[in-house]
Amino acid sequence: MNLTKTRKIAQVLILSAVRARRRNSNPVVEAKSRLINNKIAAVGFPLITIATYLIFYRGGLPLELISSALSQAFVFLPVFSLFLMVVNGLIFEITLSEYNTSTDIINWLPLRASEYVVGSTISSIYFSLPFLMVFYGVTLGASAYVGQLLIWVATLMVSLMAILIGGFFIEFVRAFMNEASSVISKRGGRFSQVLQLVSTVSIIAVLALFFNYKVLIKVMEWFGFTLEQVWFIPIMWPSMIIQSLINQNITNSTLYTVGSLALMVASYSLGSYAREKYWVPKPITMSIGSSVKVRDRKTGSLVARPEQVIASKDLKALFRKKEMMTLLAIPLMLFLLNFINMDVSVLWDDAARAADRLGVFILPGMGLFMMSLYVSMVSIGQEGRGFMNLQISPVTPRQIILGKASVGWMVSAIILVGMLAVECYFIRIPMDAFFAVCVIGVATITEACCLGLMVGSMFPDFTEVPRARFISSGGVIGILGSGMVVLVTIAPGLLNHFVWSNNLSFWMTGLITLVLAGVVCLLSISIAERKLKELLLMN
């Protein structure tokens, strides 16, 4: 293995990802993007370490308590680092646009698969550095305070091995996923689309849980007590080394070290083998049957109106582009979070108040709002270079807006109906209250779609890069603003319930919400139309 080549390929992979994220219209400014994660880590690590030490020093917590928590953290860190690499790699792979996997250049360079695998792993480590800096900085500070520096050093060494295991393994997964995706696409047609959609949404939602603090705490507790029971799972071996060291079991510690080293070599070989075998990224050749045509209402011929055909195209983008599919994971993600954070047993408890049962649906409801907002917001930027098709076509800004707004609305409405049906089943609330919930739901998703289009047309980002954002940084203000506006719209119902002791009827608060939502929709559509007119010009 040529280390200079490996270092260079790592540098190029990091730079390409960094510059893709900091895409700038000025190529000179873009070229000035530097690698900062290593600098942040170099400065942040000692700062976090010292800060943690001082916090414990002044906090006066019992040494035994810190020591016990630290032991759990030491055991947890190696496997956490391994998972971090895997999760980072998977997220990168899932959110990577299929049409931006252009690593063709490596195909005709005199580069060995093993050099690429190590280079790519180094680049993955680079992007995990800020996380690692926090975890290892905090534990070093605490270790220094309780005098467990040696075990911290051992944990660091073992974690490094775990990081490499994770990094090499994900290389195998990425090469394999590329091949599998290509094979399934060729054979499966529409089935492969559904498969890809379901797997992407599920993986994203489950991965999001991994970073939930409650889940982490549960995992930590689990590690503290039952780790020894899962000795047969190889990825746990690095953590078992530390566990054995803490228990002063040198035999087990040595065994797990040998096992972990073997695992590292195996994952390296597997990664290199997969990259070697599937070296050339396969172009996507997904074959799909001819689409269903929309029948025109006026002529009866198979001609769709421009709005319908734009909506149909955007719907396909939502279900076919990987970076768009991730948006569909938002409600599912919040729904799963709900089950961890809330006591959902109230749904089956006849004695529970209707308000408590309704509360279970607040988080998924927010997820639905966010999904409607995001789907509409990115609908303009996601056009990418293809936006030229709209620029050269005889379509008016209003037709584009109506077509695009209908996509987010349709998808959200389907989920909303499902949610309302579940609410109906679990919450036996009066008819007028149910009406208020329906109105709030419909008003929220309609407003979110209109506001999303307004923000998307004001801050579009057409650049097609890995992890494309589709809206520029200014869009963040738009998202916050949209949240505030929706809050104001649904405020009558909330105020009536919590402040005015239900003085107004649900019918009245629902009506006020509808009027407010109507005004917001008209205003935002008007702004979006004006902005889109400007975008249709290339000036």
Binding site: P283, M286, I288, G289, S301, V309, R320, R385, S393, P394
Partner: protein, 257 residues
């Protein structure tokens, strides 16, 4: 009043920051002809084409396409123009068939109008069997063929082609050249830019040479050769002489050393 010219450009200028992309351009393109816009990189060819399309707004001057102003009524102009950009800009998540259906529907074509035509183009460009594959997997040449099909599908009155033959295989390029001649016989006007002088010489009724945003000269290939004192030479020699690229031989000599 019948418009004699398909495209009329009067005193049009366009700048991007400090760069004057097009300077005081005057151009009249007769209906039913093939007009070749020639010029080195950065001479203003694409900018001119985009202004004709109504995609770019001129800083000053006036443009008319079949008597319609593309700046004030872009919708009407887009209805009658077919455009093929230098790099095909397609929706890569759609299949070729879905993309062509999208374009046809946006242009309000009836299915029976476009379906047989799509099949003919797919057959001519040897894309049959690939029509239900997503465009993301297509090669550059295949994408270019789909972009050309989309532009021709709508039966445009004016066809704007920015380097249309780049990426096409010889057979498809030949089909394209013959097709352009057939289209002009039916009254379609074609404006196209190219760097390949042989193509311009073989296909164009008139050529205009743009250089640093200005129209150096225009006329038939023979007229340009006369003008550059190379009546027996090729259009390429005339072009190089007119655009002050006569030092090419010295550059080649220096590079070969």
């Amino acid at each position: 009043m019948i418009n004699e010219y398909a495209v009329k450009i009067e005193n049009v200028s366009k700048s991007f920051g400090d760069t004057n992309a097009v300077k005081q351009l005057n151009l009249n393109i007769p209906q039913g002809t093939i007009y070749g816009l020639l010029g080195p990189n950065g001479s203003g060819k694409s900018t001119t084409m985009k202004m004709i399309m109504g995609l770019l707004k001129p800083d000053n001057g006036n443009i008319e396409v079949y008597g319609i102003n593309p700046q004030t009524t872009p919708y009407e102009v887009k209805k009658i123009i077919g455009y093929v950009p230098e790099t095909p800009q397609l929706y890569e998540f759609l299949t070729a068939m879905e993309y062509l259906e999208f374009i046809a529907t946006i242009h309000e074509l009836e299915q029976n109008e476009y379906e047989s035509k799509v099949n003919e183009f797919l057959k001519a460009f040897e894309l049959v069997g690939h029509e239900n594959e997503v465009l993301g997997g297509y090669s550059h040449g295949m994408k270019q063929k789909i972009a050309i099909t989309a532009a021709l599908l709508i039966e445009p009155k004016l066809l704007i082609l920015d380097e249309p033959l780049g990426g096409l295989d010889p057979k498809s390029a030949r089909i394209m050249k013959d097709l352009l001649n057939r289209l002009t016989e039916e009254g379609v006007t074609v404006v196209f830019s190219t760097h390949v002088m042989e193509i311009a010489e073989a296909v164009c009724d008139n050529v205009g040479i743009l250089y640093k945003g200005e129209l150096l000269t225009e006329g038939t290939s023979d007229q340009l050769k006369e003008l550059s004192n190379t009546p027996e030479g090729t259009l390429e020699e005339a072009f190089l002489k007119l655009t002050d690229s006569s030092s090419v031989r010295d550059i080649v000599e220096a590079l070969a050393r």
